[in-house]
């Protein structure tokens, strides 16, 4: 279970300090997808970054299976609670270089790297079966790059995926594959919190509605859609 309680974030803007996120709480169970919606500038992205410890929170507690974020190193926490950025940021090199990048970090020193078969299977699931792992990422389309960035996080086996509008600027095909990978991740026991502007795909169980830094939680009825 993933619990975020009373999360507040203060940022400094042109006109001084302001509360970008104010006392937001949400709790998600295994296999659950939580959609985060609301107008631009409402604090959604700041909230997700705070959950991944990428922005300092002013107050609030984060817990994974009743263990507070403080009991992990920030790096361990980010491996478990993994954020995928809106703009895919890939490193120079091939698809395989990127997928294996986490294993160049100290954190993964004692973690078995993925096998070739595992990488192939993932490429298939992402709809990239006709592209070689040796292809340079600079030669991929934006949608394909986004899928590689998404896979690079999936392959590290996080417990929680935080998706910062990963499909905002993507073609229909890439959006579909990322949607399916996300559902699979949740079905296999993962927890997903994702920011969405597009139409709901009816996979989420809850919706966290942001407005000017504050948020309230709505349950989603089966069959209901919303834009």
């Amino acid at each position: 279970m993933f619990e975020c309680e009373h999360i507040s974030v203060e940022l400094v803007g042109d006109k001084g300090a302001f509360r970008a996120v104010s006392d937001v709480s949400v709790c998600a169970q295994e296999c659950e997808i939580v959609d985060i919606v609301g107008p631009s500038g409402a604090g959604k992205s700041t909230f997700l970054h705070a959950l991944a410890l990428l922005i300092e929170r002013t107050s609030g507690t984060l817990k994974l299976d009743d263990k507070g974020a403080e009991s992990f190193s920030p790096q361990e926490w980010r491996k478990l609670v993994a954020l995928v950025q809106q703009k895919p940021v890939l490193l120079e090199g091939t698809i395989e270089d990127n997928l294996r990048f986490p294993w160049s970090l100290k954190l993964y020193k004692n973690i078995q790297p993925p096998s070739a078969a595992e990488l192939d299977a993932l490429m298939n699931r992402a709809g990239l079966h006709d592209i070689a792992l040796t292809r340079l990422v600079s030669q991929l389309s934006v949608g394909q790059q986004a899928r590689v960035a998404f896979m690079r996080t999936l392959i590290t086996h996080p417990r929680i995926l935080l998706l910062d509008e990963v499909d905002a600027a993507l073609d229909a095909q890439s959006t579909r594959f990322i949607g399916e990978l996300t559902s699979d991740f949740a079905r296999e026991g993962g927890i997903v919190l994702r920011i969405r502007h597009k139409l709901d795909d009816n996979r989420a169980a809850k919706r966290l509605v942001f407005n000017a830094g504050v948020a309230h939680l709505e349950m989603i009825e089966r069959g209901e859609t919303r834009d």
Binding site: L54, E56, R78, V84, Q85, K87, L91, P102, L105, L107
Partner: protein, 283 residues
């Protein structure tokens, strides 16, 4: 050094002011708008070097190790101020760290040269320690300033990439390492260029000075080689230490990158688009 210098009398020195007048004429005729600053800078340079001459004569006469160390401390202090002023996009004061690094490098490299290579006696012989210390400081100062400027600029340019790496579990050091490398390269390349061009494109300052003072050029050459190599080491060690000690400033306690938009008043030199001070360290 042997005696061989033809002294310059005060009236001869006054005559040198025709150079200032020549430069001033160009600035006024071409309406460059920097004549006043130039006149002020020339006057400052004139007075500073004159004072330096007397101060060093006094220091040499004093023959005190403690005073030599005190002078090196003072020089490190001024050099650190210059670096701290130039590097803007980092939160908090970097002065104490730069000062520590510069003073450490100054002691390490200077006394390695004077103690192990030249073997001066006594160990603090100011004729050697002060000019060599000055060259070490001048070069490390420039190297460190270039490296730090590049470090923080590069980290800002790589903000998204670094955030992506950190989100995957990278430590601040792992995320910053490409920028640290790029910064060290930028700090060291001027040095490599100098080493490659020296002796063909220009006669380095220290060798020129020794030749003017009457030393045979072939005797002056080994000194110059020692100085050039010493300066490159000082530059490398100084930049490496400074970047390693300061990159963490742009990360918070949880290892997340902190974007930083400095709101700083432009300095006098930036305001009037004057060139950055050249280091006159004699190589």
């Amino acid at each position: 050094m042997t005696s061989g210098v033809i002294p310059i009398a005060p009236w001869q020195l006054a005559f040198a002011s025709v150079f200032v007048v020549a430069a001033l004429c160009i600035m006024v005729v071409m309406k460059l708008g920097i004549a006043r600053q130039y006149a002020w800078a020339a006057l400052r340079g004139f007075v500073q070097v004159l004072i330096l001459g007397y101060a060093l004569s006094w220091l040499f006469h004093l023959d005190s190790g403690l005073m030599v160390i005190a002078v090196l401390l003072f020089m490190s202090g001024v050099a650190s101020l210059t670096v701290a002023k130039r590097v803007s996009n980092v939160p908090g004061s970097i002065y104490p760290i730069i000062f520590t690094v510069l003073f450490f490098i100054c002691l390490l490299i200077t006394f390695t040269v004077t103690g192990l290579i030249v073997r001066v006696k006594p160990w603090y012989l100011p004729q050697y320690v002060i000019p060599i210390g000055g060259m070490v400081l001048g070069n490390s100062m420039t190297g460190i300033a270039i490296a730090l400027e590049r470090l923080f600029k590069d980290m800002d340019a790589r903000e998204d990439e670094m955030r992506g790496m950190i989100a995957l579990g990278a430590t601040p050091k792992e995320a910053a390492m490409p920028s640290i490398r790029s910064a060290l390269r930028a700090g060291l390349i001027p040095n490599i260029n100098t080493l490659a061009a020296v002796g063909i494109v220009f006669i380095p300052g220290m060798m020129s000075g020794q030749i003017l003072a009457g030393t045979a050029p072939y005797k002056a050459a080994p000194y110059q080689i020692v100085i050039l190599l010493m300066v490159s080491a000082a530059d490398a060690i100084g930049s490496a230490l400074a970047t390693r000690m300061l990159y963490r400033r742009r990360f918070n306690a949880e290892g997340a990158f902190i974007p930083f938009a400095p709101k700083k008043k432009p300095s006098f030199r930036e305001k009037f688009s004057l060139p950055q001070k050249k280091n006159d360290n004699g190589h």
